[in-house]
């Protein structure tokens, strides 16, 4: 049976819009089952903040709020990449290899104070509260994160054999969910791990090899243009990536990038 956490203190970043300066607000939540997910805890807090709007008197004193807290989420299974919180100083919180939506309250103890912030990076401006704009990731992929084939007129799927280890490694890289934790964690705000995951996944397959060098160059150029920082190999990104994308992919990206330079 899961334990019930009687009281937690939640310190959350509130920001009413992109132009608002933003500030922290502090709330209390009660009777949270350790079997609940972190986002379910936030649901409960939001329900409480809504009740406060309905009936301001009935609410515990000292809680001032700006209505329910906005945060991105969708699948709640760790696959869509929508959820994106910085919890107690770590992207996706204190558990390893999980996204925020897969984080469970078992990781917290009675009486804890939990601090929640949005991704903070110049590449990801805040839209509201904990919601940020990650549109830059789409733009980077539009610069070359694809194989240039049209629908129809392609060969039989089994026409090219692909060594299993290559396919597996390609899949390792393709597991990236585009959450942005790597950027949020990097002191330079670099998107290198995200870019490398896509470049590497395609470069490992014969279909993707054809355009590999050009792709690497175009995507890195776009990343720079959009204001993401440079990679200085701190490897912090790898530590916080919920999908275990490794910096080996950055090495492969660099090789493709160099090839592109030679071809210039």
């Amino acid at each position: 049976m899961d334990k019930i956490l009687k009281e937690l203190t939640i310190k959350v970043w509130r920001q009413n819009g992109p132009k608002d300066k933003g500030h922290f607000e502090t709330y209390k939540v009660h009777n949270i089952s350790q079997g609940s997910s972190f986002l379910e805890m936030l649901d409960i807090l939001n329900e409480q903040l809504i009740q406060e709007g309905i009936d301001p008197v009935a609410v515990e004193k000292g809680c001032k709020s700006s209505g329910p807290i906005s945060f991105d989420h969708d699948c709640r299974e760790g696959i869509c990449g929508a959820c994106s919180l910085y919890i107690d100083g770590r992207a996706h919180g204190p558990d390893d290899e999980v996204t925020t939506c897969q984080l469970h309250m078992r990781k917290f103890n009675e009486g804890d104070t939990i601090t929640i912030e949005p991704w903070r990076s110049s590449g990801f401006p805040v839209i509201k509260d904990l919601v940020v704009d990650r549109g830059a990731f789409d733009k980077i992929l539009q610069a070359g994160g694809y194989v240039s084939v049209n629908t129809g007129g392609v060969p039989d799927a089994n026409a090219i054999a692909i060594p299993k280890p290559d396919a597996d490694e390609s899949m390792d890289a393709a597991a990236c969910i585009g959450c942005g934790a790597c950027v949020a964690t990097c002191k330079n705000g670099s998107a290198m791990l995200f870019v490398a995951a896509r470049v590497s996944s395609l470069a490992l397959l014969p279909q993707g090899k054809v355009e590999a060098a050009r792709r690497a160059k175009a995507m890195v150029a776009k990343m720079d243009e959009l204001g993401f920082g440079a990679c200085t190999n701190t490897r912090a990104c790898e530590m916080e990536c919920p999908k275990h994308i490794t910096v080996n992919h950055i090495a492969r990206l660099n090789r493709e990038f160099l090839k592109a330079k030679f071809q210039d």
Partner: protein, 648 residues
């Protein structure tokens, strides 16, 4: 038959229908395509593949989605795999067999011609995805690997670890990105369609809300494609993503599009059981697990009691004291019976008191036999991420103790009625993917939704939409200042303002949870006449409650998820009612729709082919008015309609 329900099924032998049809429908010249605009709503497998393919053909496409990036559509969460009739395993698979399994799995409530076409193009999908760089699982020889799914005796499911939907969607999203870069497609993330605009009875555009600013905007086109997914979240708790909703389909329905078979909802047998009142959604454990997992409950009630008290662990129960009830009841298919059959069998055991977990609402899915046979490493390679997900949620290690699972709402077979061209009853309005009703009848087989979404988007719609657009190239661009847009925008704003002005006492989620309880109780796994009548009344009352007592917090002119949830809930209430009407009308059991009055002595579904072998297409008749039923009869010319049998 109502004159609007013309299915346009082509003449000729089944295997030649699609080829003949393609040869006869009109095409639009490249020069004219450049002058035409198409709106696609949704970027799941259906929407992303359609938008990319239409862009490649030269149309000007605008594509919308709710999430912050097209890549996050709900399709991303599909785990298990995608079917195709490649016969790479040499196990005697064929287009006909995939067609046959799909019709049979759907309990003879889908159209032969549509399903045959689906099976036919399934092979092209795999070719296409491989060409895009989708890293499907491979054997050591370098060729593609397959696994089995429920309702099939061949191995025809292609997969990418436990992340097949993700990889297929990233493929379609990449194709979409390529078109966005090329300028043929313009992407509108964080936009929600709030109404469809008709001009002279034809679909010409949409009204949408910019979810970041709250601004209501107008968009015009020559045709509109809805790829907005299913409405499983009517039940509040389901395996669908939190933002999945049925609103776009409801908007179309209110504007005259018929809604087909709304009561056909799929309940998936292998989901993680509910942990308590704080639960926000349910997590699926992929059907692929049934390849190697065996489902059981204890044979003895005293073991059940001890388990519930935590006195023993499931692994301590001896082999002879376990009831592998699927293997017992369905020896030919065993643990791989279709989903509806597996779900009802679990309910039957739990109703009899053999359910495990504190709630008594769970059964075991056990990998012990497979681990003994294959070793833990093989199982880890096959399902590692699913096992990890399970452990993170439940704190139980499934390599050591069996998983606990229970059925949950997962997919909706019903949807907007479409003809063979995937056009709804509104000219110029198309519906693809889970949003339409077309291919799965009363029950969808595993790994067939991904197939259908990509079939529709890559290989069907790009052809069939040309037949409509060919007659339109002389028409000028749609004028978004036309009075029809004016009116639609005003109606959207009025509705929003009305919801916001209620300022009642109940939160949106609170009312949604109540709807969920009503649906699960009376329109869930087992339904009967009395319960359905009661559900209709309860939903009507709840609708009144919503429109008089909901409280929508926050500022509507900023990013505001409460506003989003509120407009979607208003539509879920309508869908719930429509589902109950349809379930009440269909006095037979078939596929996922189980009417208690209609069952065999062994508790299996009993169809009534004489009276219900039709598609139920519902027409909106106004707010609070009972909808009107239209029937599209189903004709089976190539398949003998028999009772589904998974026993021998």
């Amino acid at each position: 038959m109502a004159d609007k329900l013309i299915s346009k099924i082509p003449e000729g032998p089944l295997a030649e229908k699609w080829t003949n049809h393609k040869a006869h429908i009109k095409v639009v010249s490249p020069g004219n395509k450049r002058k035409m605009e198409v709106i696609v709503i949704g970027t799941g497998l259906g929407g992303a593949s359609a938008a990319a393919s239409l862009g490649e053909l030269g149309y000007n496409v605008k594509v919308f989605c709710i999430s912050d990036s097209p890549r996050r559509a709900h399709s991303i969460a599909a785990q298990g795999g995608i079917n195709a009739a490649k016969n790479y395993q040499n196990d005697n698979d064929s287009i006909y067999r995939l067609f046959y399994d799909t019709i049979k799995g759907g309990d003879y409530r889908s159209r032969e011609a549509n399903v045959y076409r689906l099976a036919e193009v399934s092979n092209n999908i795999i070719d296409q995805c491989v060409a895009q760089g989708v890293p499907f699982a491979r054997e050591y020889g370098g060729l593609l690997a397959n696994r089995s799914f429920g309702g099939a005796q061949v191995s025809r499911t292609f997969y990418a670890r436990g992340q097949t939907g993700q990889q297929l969607l990233l493929g379609a999203y990449a194709a979409l990105n390529r078109q966005i870069a090329a300028g043929t497609v313009k992407s509108y993330p964080r936009y929600e369609m709030l109404d469809l605009v008709l001009i002279k009875g034809e679909a010409k555009g949409i009204i949408a809300r910019n979810l970041c600013t709250g601004k209501i905007e107008r968009f015009g086109a020559h045709a509109v494609v809805l790829a907005t997914g299913g409405y499983g979240n009517t039940y509040f708790l389901s395996t669908n993503a939190m933002n999945s909703n049925g609103s776009a389909a409801m908007q179309a329905y209110r504007k005259g599009a018929y809604f087909a078979n709304p009561c056909f909802a799929q309940i998936h047998p292998t989901c993680i059981p509910v942990h308590g009142e704080q639960q926000s959604k349910l997590t699926l454990m992929s059907e692929s697990l049934r390849n190697d997992g065996r489902i059981w409950v204890p044979k003895k009630l005293e073991d059940v009691a001890k388990l519930r008290k935590g006195e023993i662990k499931p692994s301590m129960i001896a082999e002879e004291d376990r009831d592998y009830y699927l293997e017992r009841r369905y020896p030919a298919f065993g643990n791989l019976v279709p989903r509806d059959v597996a779900s009802r069998a679990a309910k039957e055991r739990c109703d009899k008191g053999f359910g495990v977990n504190e709630t008594g609402l769970a059964v075991f899915l056990d990998f012990r036999t497979a681990i003994e046979r294959l070793g833990e490493d093989v199982i880890r390679a096959r399902y590692g991420n699913l096992f990890q997900m399970y452990e993170k949620i439940t704190n139980v290690n499934p390599y050591k103790e069996p998983m606990m699972i229970f059925p949950a709402i997962h997919y909706t077979m019903g949807g907007l009625w479409v003809d063979y061209n995937l056009q709804t009853t509104i000219p110029g309005l198309y519906a693809i993917g889970e949003a339409n009703f077309s291919d799965h009848g009363g029950n969808r087989l595993g790994a067939s939704a991904l197939m259908q979404g990509l079939a529709d988007g890559y290989f069907v719609l790009p052809y069939t939409i040309g037949d409509y657009l060919a007659g339109k190239f002389k028409e000028p661009k749609t004028d978004i200042n036309a009075p029809e847009f004016e009116e639609a925008e005003k109606a959207v704003k009025d509705r929003l303002n009305k919801i916001l002005s209620i300022k009642g006492k109940r939160s949106v989620d609170n009312i949604h949870k109540e709807l969920g309880h009503i649906m699960w109780e009376y329109v869930g796994m087992a339904r009967n006449e009395e319960g359905l009548k009661k559900a209709i009344q309860l939903i009507k009352d709840l609708k009144k409650e919503f429109w008089s007592n909901v409280y929508v917090a926050g500022d509507p002119n900023t990013f505001n998820q409460e506003v989003e949830k509120a407009t979607r809930l208003a539509d879920f209430l309508e869908i719930g009612e429509l589902m109950a009407y349809d379930a009440l009308n269909r006095r037979e059991s078939c596929g996922g729709h189980f009417r208690e009055e209609m069952q065999t002595e062994e508790g299996e579904t009993k169809r009534d082919d004489a009276n219900y072998m039709y598609v139920a297409a519902w027409e909106y008749k106004g707010d609070g008015v009972e909808p009107e039923l239209h029937k599209e009869p189903l004709n089976y010319e190539n398949i003998q309609v028999v009772t589904r049998n998974y026993k021998d």
